[in-house]
Symmetry: C2
């Protein structure tokens, strides 16, 4: 007998918004940002489409595909947990290319795929799922913490299931720090046939 967890709604707060307008994936804080169907216009990960990479080993590298990874969403709580696990004073969202920083969602990285993040302007982000921590992010952290080259690999291990979620823009609109975020989680069940 399959057990279903009912749909539920929770509230969160948007703490920061960031974009990565340059070649680097390191992001920079903004006062507000317009979410469009392409993501954040001008951001390194924006676009309706993208090319596949090492995260899609089932496709030849460079295969055109729809872009479900427009936005990297991080939480204050998970960044603090990962920083503590790595014994570093802080882990800034910019270092690992975050776009939206939220608070108030326990275990953000475990939010089920399809979850909706709804903002006061009407903007909505649909969650694709959790992000896998990579060495590139680890190296970026190491570049900010002198004398800790171990962080490049250490991050990959410490941030497993704590590196936030990815999503794409379902409804356009502006978002800004301080926004109350309505989070809709759909009915859940494990698939175990």
């Amino acid at each position: 007998m399959v057990e279903f967890l009912p749909a539920r709604n929770i509230e969160a707060k948007l703490e920061g918004v960031y974009w990565a307008p340059k070649a680097s994936f390191v992001s920079e804080a903004l006062d507000s940002v317009a979410l469009t169907y392409e993501g954040i216009a001008g951001d390194r990960h924006s676009g309706l489409y993208r090319q596949s990479g090492p995260r899609e080993p089932w496709y030849p590298r460079g295969t055109p595909m729809r872009n479900e990874r427009q936005l990297s969403i991080l939480s204050v709580e998970e960044l603090a947990e990962v920083a503590a696990a790595l014994s570093i004073p802080e882990l800034r969202p910019e270092w690992i290319g975050g776009n939206l920083l939220v608070s108030g969602i326990a275990d953000l990285s475990l939010l089920p795929p399809r979850t909706l993040l709804m903002f006061p302007s009407g903007a909505t982000v649909r969650i694709d799922g959790d992000n896998g921590p990579c060495k590139k992010s680890g190296a970026s952290i190491a570049a900010n913490i002198p004398g800790r080259p171990d962080l490049e690999f250490g991050f990959v291990k410490a941030a497993k299931h704590k590196r936030g979620v990815l999503g794409w823009v379902e409804r356009e609109g502006e978002v800004r720090p301080g926004d109350v975020v309505k989070v809709r989680i759909w009915e859940q069940a494990l698939y175990t046939p």
Copy 2:
């Protein structure tokens, strides 16, 4: 302690492809169909964008949004189960607007959001999640089974968690009956903080 079910791959078979080119949502069988980023070109539910409806009570009716419901995917097994529950000789995918009919996936409707369906041509469909059975589909079934007006409401009840899944095109390509479908299911965990 959160329990994670590892990612897994299964195989299925594509049994039929259909489109709904007219005002009605009832679909018609085809020999093959091209999946594009808009879905099935000319189909009633194709498009990169759509307007919100009664399934999105959190948006004002008619709100522009990204279209995550391009394709209705049904299974031979679930259609047979629902037909048996309704005591009707068959439930044809066309009657309820199916686009892709598959076999070999137990509990298709419970496939987790984010699941990938990969076809031999390179086409990939990304699953958004389960479809909710509606009275319109029930009425369409009733129109094909004389003397059973009860099917309009009966379908809504009998097809709960058995009405298939919705998805959108991640990679373009042609698909045809007989195709072997590689199904990638991601790591799963229930969100229960």
